[in-house]
Symmetry: C2
Subunit: 144 residues, 2 copies
């Protein structure tokens, strides 16, 4: 069993991908006006890429355009003091409406949590694609 | 009701602080070898400061020394599509063993999830104090 410097069990890439696929949402980390920012997002796995659906005019869409970003997903059981956390790092790219890939991404099981009015330009869908360039996962197991 | 550009309800500072106090853990965002990094942490509120307990020799302890960091906590109900997210930004500072403040922080209700062996130098406690300089909170409510 491989452990890191804080005795957490290091997960393999396969285990990490599997846990990532099981989580209903994650948190994307980006830079907003030179400060760290975190925002919960729901995502879908599309092979070795994460796909995030946002609005065309959102702060997130603007901030992660061609930026290196991280996405973290986790699940913890407070009572049992167990859980896991997986982080992906990659170079995000935007897929706005009109791109060839857009209609394929629109078929992913990726429902927005917020209502959208497709007639309003700022409500138009916009996808962020994050290739899984680096992935790391840790698991905390019940020790006491 | 104040909403942001994505129609999420903007929480007041008081509501955000209250939710922050209710969460069992959060995620700290920092920079590790020029890349974004996220790590789940448990924390306690000490007035207008967040206190995080880590190990003296941890990557986290080294990375957030005198850095501007963010800490996010959230809770979501996938079925109901409701939830909240609060992010704090502040200038972190370290309180290693020996500092006057250390023994006071050691009395906070802040149990580490991982076992510690106080005889091993790298297992010694080390606190990170994060003043709540900026706090922002959003709530998603059931629309459909």
């Amino acid at each position: 069993m491989k452990v890191d410097s804080t005795d957490l069990r290091v997960l393999s890439r396969a285990e990490s991908m599997q846990l990532l696929a099981s989580a209903p949402l994650g948190r994307i980390v980006f830079t907003d006006r030179a400060l760290p920012a975190i925002q919960p997002v729901n995502y879908a796995l599309d092979g070795e890429r994460l796909v995030i659906r946002t609005r065309a005019g959102s702060k997130l869409a603007a901030a992660v355009r061609d930026a290196v970003v991280a996405l973290e997903a986790d699940a913890f059981d407070e009572a049992g003091r167990t859980g896991w956390s997986v982080t992906v790092i990659g170079h995000a790219c935007a897929v706005p409406e009109g791109r060839e890939e857009f209609s394929r991404l629109a078929h992913l099981p990726l429902a927005p949590w917020m209502p959208r009015d497709g007639q309003r330009p700022e409500h138009r869908d916009h996808y962020i694609v994050l290739p899984v360039e680096q992935i790391s996962g840790r698991r905390v197991e019940a020790y006491f």
